[in-house]
C-alpha cells in the first residue's frame, strides 16, 4: 500500500487514466487526490460559495469517473478536468443569474479568517482588509462568465493560453481578447476605488 502510494506519485496522469481504464480503481483515487484541491479552489474562486464549490467539485469527479472509460489522451487529463469544471461553473452562473449571491460572502469566509490570529493584530485593520478583499472579488464577479473563466484559468490555475483555449473550446486569439477585456474591465472598476484610497 505504502509502496503503491509512492509509485502512484511517479506515474503521470495519463498513465493513471490508462490504469483506471484497465480496471484499477485505485488509479482514480490517486487522480482525485492530485486534483481535488485545485478543482475545489478553482470553483471556489468562480462561484464564491463554499457549499456550491464543494458540490460542483464532487460533480466534476462524478462526471469524470463516468466518462473516463471513453477518454482518449488527445489533451492533458488536467485540461479535460478543468473543462468539466468550467462548463459546470458556467452552467451554475447561468442558472443562478450572472453573479453570485453577495449576501452570503460573510458566511463563506472560514472562521479562521474572521478570528484574530494573534494578539497583536488589529481587529479594525482586519475588518478593513476583509472588506477590501470582498470589494475586489465582487469586481471580478462583474466579468462575463467567459472573461472570468479565462482570467482564473490563466492567472490562478497556471494554465498556458493554449491550454485555456482547449479547456474552453476557444481559439487562442479569442482567449487573449477575453483576457484583455477582463483586465481592462477590472481596471475600470477598481481604479476609481484605489485612487480614492477606498481599497
Amino acid at each position: 500500500m505504502f509502496i503503491a502510494g509512492i509509485m502512484d506519485k511517479l506515474i503521470d496522469d495519463e498513465m493513471l487514466v490508462a490504469q483506471f481504464q484497465s480496471g484499477r480503481q485505485n488509479a482514480f483515487d490517486e487522480l482525485m487526490k492530485r486534483y481535488k484541491a485545485k478543482i475545489f479552489s478553482y470553483l471556489l474562486r468562480s462561484v464564491r460559495n463554499y457549499e456550491d464549490a464543494e458540490d460542483i467539485t464532487i460533480e466534476v469527479f462524478f462526471k469524470a469517473y463516468r466518462a473516463l472509460d471513453n477518454w482518449q489522451p488527445k489533451a492533458k487529463f488536467s485540461t479535460w478536468l478543468y473543462k468539466i469544471a468550467s462548463n459546470l461553473a458556467i452552467d451554475y452562473h447561468r442558472t443562478k443569474g450572472r453573479h453570485p449571491v453577495y449576501a452570503l460572502e460573510d458566511l463563506e469566509i472560514p472562521e479562521a479568517n474572521l478570528v484574530a490570529t494573534d494578539l497583536h493584530s488589529d481587529p479594525v485593520h482586519q475588518v478593513e482588509e476583509q472588506e477590501r478583499g470582498r470589494i475586489i472579488r465582487e469586481a471580478v464577479d462583474q466579468l462575463s462568465p467567459k472573461q472570468k473563466a479565462v482570467f482564473m484559468l490563466s492567472r490562478y490555475e497556471g494554465l498556458q493560453l493554449k491550454e485555456v483555449a482547449e479547456t474552453l473550446d476557444m481559439a487562442e486569439g479569442t482567449v487573449k481578447i477575453h483576457l484583455h477585456r477582463a483586465v481592462k474591465r477590472l481596471q475600470t472598476l477598481l481604479r476609481p476605488l484605489w485612487e480614492n484610497n477606498e481599497i
Binding site: Q25, D29, M32, K33, K36, A37, F40, S41, L44, R45, R48, Y50, E54, T57, I58, E59, F61, F62, Y65, R66, A67, D69, N70, I109, P110, N113, Q130, R132, G133, R134, I136, R137, A139, V140, S154, R155, Y156, L161, K176, L179, H180, V183, K184, L186, Q187, L190, R191, W194, I199
Partner: protein
C-alpha cells in the same frame, strides 16, 4: 498629448508576464520613451496585485477537502440506485397503463407482483444499460474504506491536538467529526469516552 498608438493589450500582456522574450524586449525598449504605456503597465500591475491578493484570501477548507473522495463515491452509488429507480418507474408506467381499467385491490396486487417479477427478471437477465457505472457494491466498499480512514485520521488528530497542542476546541471538534463518521459502529463509544474525559479534564 497624443495617446500612444500601441495597443493596451501589449501593456496587459507585459504586466501579466505573458509576452514571449521576442516581444518583451522591444516593448521594454518602448517603455523607456513612452509615458502612456508606462502608466498603463503600472495601472494594470496594480489591478493584478489587488486581485491576486483578494483571490489568495479564498482558501479551501481542509475539512471539506477530506470528504471529497467519499462523497464522489456516494454520488456514484446514488446514481446507480437512480438508474434502477428510473427503470422501476418505466415499468410502473407501462404496467400502469395496462391495468388502468382495473380498480380492485386484487388487480393492483397482481400488478405489483408482476412488476416485481419483471424487475427482477430485467435485473437478472438484461445487460446493464450503463456499463460505465460502478456497481453499487464496489462504491459502497469504497465509501466504507474512506469512512474507516476518516475515523482513524480524526482519532489520530484528536490525540495530537490534545497531547501535543493541548487545543481542547480542536480536539473536541475532531472527536465529534470522528463520531459522525463512526455512526452505527462501536467507534462512537470510543469517541464518547474521549469526549467525556476531555470534559472532565483528564
Amino acid at each position: 498629448m497624443p495617446k500612444c498608438i500601441k495597443s493596451e493589450g501589449q501593456a496587459i500582456d507585459y504586466a501579466s508576464k505573458l509576452l514571449s522574450p521576442e516581444e518583451e524586449d522591444p516593448f521594454k525598449e518602448h517603455l523607456k520613451n513612452c509615458p502612456d504605456c508606462t502608466e498603463a503597465v503600472q495601472s494594470f500591475r496594480t489591478v493584478l496585485q489587488l486581485t491576486d491578493k483578494a483571490q489568495a484570501e479564498l482558501r479551501v477548507p481542509e475539512l471539506a477537502l477530506q470528504d471529497i473522495e467519499m462523497n464522489v463515491y456516494k454520488r456514484l452509488a446514488a446514481a446507480h440506485e437512480q438508474t434502477l429507480l428510473s427503470r422501476v418507474r418505466a415499468y410502473l408506467v407501462n404496467f400502469g397503463s395496462l391495468f388502468r381499467w382495473q380498480r380492485t385491490a386484487a388487480a393492483s396486487t397482481i400488478a405489483v407482483a408482476l412488476i416485481t417479477i419483471a424487475l427482477l427478471w430485467g435485473e437478472l437477465f438484461s445487460p446493464e444499460p450503463e456499463m460505465l457505472l460502478p456497481d453499487t457494491q464496489s462504491a459502497v466498499a469504497r465509501i466504507e474504506q474512506y469512512r474507516q480512514q476518516h475515523i482513524q485520521r480524526n482519532l489520530e488528530e484528536a490525540f495530537i491536538t490534545h497531547h501535543l497542542r493541548n487545543d481542547a476546541w480542536e480536539t473536541e471538534s475532531r472527536l465529534h467529526r470522528m463520531k459522525e463518521h463512526a455512526h452505527g459502529t462501536n467507534w462512537t463509544k470510543v469517541a464518547d469516552d474521549h469526549l467525556q474525559n476531555l470534559h472532565s479534564g483528564h
